[in-house]
Amino acid sequence: MSAADWILPGRDVTLKIDRDGLIKRGFMLVIALYLIVALALPLYTMLSKSFVTYGFDLARYEFQVSDETGGNFGPPTTAAALNATLSRFGPDDLRTSSEGRLSVIELFPNFSFRSPVKYRMRALDGASWLVGLDLVKAADWQEYDSNTFRRINLRPSTTVGMQNYTAYFSNPALFRSIENSLFIALVSTVLTVSFAFGFAYAISRSCMRFKGAMKLIAMMPILVPSLLPGIALVYLFGNQGLLKDLLMGHSIYGPLGIVIGSVFFTFPHALIIISTALAIADQRQYEAADALRASRWRIFWTVTIPGARYGLISAAFVTFTLVITDFGLPKVIGGQYSVLAIDIYKQVIGQQNFEMGAVVSVILLIPAVLAFVIDRQVQKKQVSQLSARSVPYEPKPNPGFDVLCLGWCGLVAGFILLMIGTCQLAALVNFWPYDMSLSLKNFAFDKMDGGGWSAYWNSIQLAALTAVIGTVVVFTGAYMVEKLDGSYFARGLFQFLAMLPMAVPGMVLGLAYIFFFNNPVNPLNVIYGTMAILVVSTVTHFYTVGHLTALTALKQIDPEFESVATSMRQPFWRLFGRVTVPICMPAILDIMIYLFVNAMTTVSAVVFIYSSQTALASIAVLNMDDAGDIAPAAAMGMMIFYTNVAARLLHMALSHGLLRRTQAWRVR
């Protein structure tokens, strides 16, 4: 309670809760519960699984064998002792997964199921065995005839500890993935941030032509899955690539391809952040620097860079996280080059070793969480540099510089168009590079593995559901955090949960979902393998950006609106519906399109949890590429691109129309 306890006797006054308060608390509870079930609990389950190992603990089983009459049992012997004399199983044979079984008769070389010999066994410390399919857990002797004994299997017992981690770190191949991942992420980050800074600088500080077109092209990579640049690179520089000779013998499969592709797909993300940072420049600072006769070079280092430094740091962390957690690109173009995200995939899909997958996930979480935490700290330091009195920077024409800027932007835009254009072409030709005549045969997805056209329609359904449900959940949640008075603790916890998804790579979330939802004990097990779990996972995976967008919009609303409405004894939902939502409409539409586009392109968040009925377009790209149907994969990738372009156009039209009606008040 408060300090009033020792200053004043008695209890603090608390207001009675009215219906509004109840409804608000109810809403907050529902959404907090959503985040706990869809995020916190699965992550927790995964974390705990990473410490679990399964093995047959032979020391816990004891046997007695009778003579040929079925009586006169011999002395009790542990299975471990039997194994020791037989040297039947080595330590590696005894390590297993949660589903492992070990037939007991392996320990009895003289066993015959027709013999009248009877067996007694018991298990200590909670170990168990199966008789057929029936689980037995008994510490007192159980007697079986030979025919039954034949059907007995030992079940593994669980050990909690660091074994998985020690196993991971003692495996040099797995350990190398860490180095590889860090290397790729660092190189890509440096390149992407430099390129994006140059691009943003040209846009904001020059008077070059075609700025609008350049910005539009620069945003295109957001609309495609990260697999697509991989496919484009295969067509350009792969074994049959058109420009293969440019590499002078180097292979595109490996770090080179991953880095080029990573720069492609992270470029718009970095560009958005850096552009915002550069756009808040104050003209007067530049005028002051000019008046002091500073050189352009000096102005660049003393005014421009310090003003944009937080943006640069933030962009670097975002890029780093995107690259290190990306799975699609190394899958398509990585060749034999192993990275952490691929390791998770191999462990889970390839070897069905979920516990080891969990270990790699935890390791992948570390850099992602670290980058996230540092970024949040930097963001906090970034006080608004643009006051209401600032004069926005207006570049002056400078022919030489402007041409230089246009050249740079043109180069970047050309690269982006080349990549997308290559995929477009590959999707449309008969047989690259031998028969370049046009055809639509690559779009006959139903003839390929990977889910066919139904995968595409599933994706549309997923994206639409994610956009609608996600926007409602995200915006309502943000509203409750921002406008619910009362418990700081509850709000703080909610805010933490809402920020958490940003730090959790999609594959890690997916794996956590397997652990959590695929457990028959969990009543939510019913959504496993359905569209519902895909929607939940996608909404959760992309929760944070939407949450921050909504918060920013809500913070701009006068906090006294709620007080005024309350004083007029109006319920909060009336204010919410008639004022808050209409005012925030632009932000709400932004959240929607963000969720839609990302649901269309995501691979990592869904790759572990889609089922044959819920195959998705982005997954189809992955699987068709895996099966060698690269051209159809490119075609499906382009379908995603067209859809996202259409969605963007619809969003623009909708914003325009809706804003004209709901935002008439903005016009003075």
Binding site: V13, A565, S567, M568, Q663, A664
Partner: protein, 377 residues
């Protein structure tokens, strides 16, 4: 400090004492962690009164208002409105209208929709709402702005709409949280008058929070002066101005000269000057602060008496400022040491006595205008 006997006990309040309490605040505390924003505040407000909470920022005036509104509940204490204990009622169950400094008009709704917001959803027929809205817009003098959006109105107009909206549902209590602070000086003076007129017309009990003493003095029936979470003084504007009970009030309201001194043998002395004052309850040797307002200092031609008359002080003008309607003089005197005395002299007096920088004259500190406070209070 409230326990100090005030020098004006004999003076009758200009309004009759409140008999019919509409709002009673009893022993209110508000504590944030280790900080007490309100300390044992008690107050009674009569029906139809216009009350101003006045004080510097951080004095607790807004905290008190928000506690009354149920927006930030008090930590301890009771609030009774119209005989009903509302201490722990949520804001939605209380009966008040509120206007904020930011106006808090809903930007996406027209003026008419803003005003109608509290009327809709209450079972009133549409025609009645339309009529009432028109009536309210007429009342605040903006009948032709019904279909405008708030951003199309000036600040003063927006505040009038906010006022119309707050009284739409006929609240028993009107709360105004620094309603004029965001406006230009001219508009502010004009609106002051209008709000006061409106309040008188409606007879609604009103509490206004302000840090602007001029606003409080010109609008309030009674002023509640607050500082550091306690009420320093409650009184009519003239009481507060003429007879401040504490040095803080004397200092905060209007301007005051402050001269440190001692109370000795039944009198307060300034150097060799003996001041006749009406201060009961001081003990011999007590340190005191003498306060007098600049406009209360009376100029006389330089005297030549060997023994100065009581309350008369020989001074020299060390600097002068022209204020338009009067002159402000900085006066120095051997009796006062380094502290200059600031006085406002009328144009007439300055002409009559032919005063300018360097002139010598005698000023009178009238006994009934000199305030004496125990030091450290």
């Amino acid at each position: 400090m409230n326990a100090m006997t005030s020098p004006n006990l004999s003076i009758q309040p200009e309004t009759p004492p409140v008999t019919d309490d509409y709002l009673r605040i009893e022993n209110l505390w508000k504590i944030y962690g280790e900080f007490a924003a309100l300390r044992d505040v008690s107050l009674r407000i009569g029906k139809g009164e216009f009350i101003c909470f006045l004080g510097p920022s951080g004095c607790g005036k807004t905290t008190l208002l928000r506690a009354i509104a149920g927006l930030d509940p008090q930590t301890r204490g009771h609030i009774l409105q119209d005989g009903r204990d509302i201490s722990n009622l949520p804001a939605s169950k209380r009966d008040y209208g509120i206007v904020f400094q930011s106006y808090a008009l809903f930007p996406n709704l027209t003026v008419a929709k803003n005003v109608a917001f509290g009327l809709e959803n209450t079972g009133r027929p549409k025609a009645e709402i339309t009529k009432r809205v028109a009536e309210l817009l007429e009342l605040v003098g903006l009948p032709d702005k019904a279909n405008r959006y708030p951003s199309q109105l000036s600040g003063g107009q927006q505040q009038r709409i906010a006022l119309a909206r707050s009284i739409a549902i006929n609240p028993g209590l009107l709360l105004l949280d620094e309603p004029l602070s965001a406006l230009d000086a001219k508009v502010r003076v004009h609106l002051r008058h209008e709000i006061k007129e409106l309040q008188r017309k409606l007879g609604v009990t009103t509490i206004m929070v302000t840090h602007d003493q001029e606003e409080a003095l010109s609008m309030a029936d009674r002023i509640v002066v607050m500082n550091h979470g306690v009420i320093e003084q409650i009184g009519t504007p003239t009481e507060i101005y003429r007879h401040p009970t504490t040095l803080f009030v004397a200092d905060f309201i209007g301007e005051t000269n402050r001269i440190a001194s001692h109370y000795k043998q039944g009198a307060v002395t300034l150097g060799s000057l003996v001041l006749n004052t009406e201060v009961p309850g001081l003990t011999d040797g007590q340190a005191v602060m003498v306060a007098i307002r600049p406009e209360d200092i009376l100029p006389h031609s330089a005297g030549h008496e060997a023994v100065p008359k009581p309350n008369h002080l020989p001074v020299t003008i060390s600097a002068q400022e022209f204020l338009g309607s009067s002159w402000r003089m900085h006066l120095r005197s051997a009796e006062l040491g380094e502290t200059p005395l600031v006085a406002n002299f009328s144009m007439n007096a300055v002409r009559r006595l032919d005063l300018s920088e360097g002139s010598k004259l005698t000023v009178e500190l009238p006994a009934e205008r000199v305030l004496v406070f125990p030091k450290g209070a």
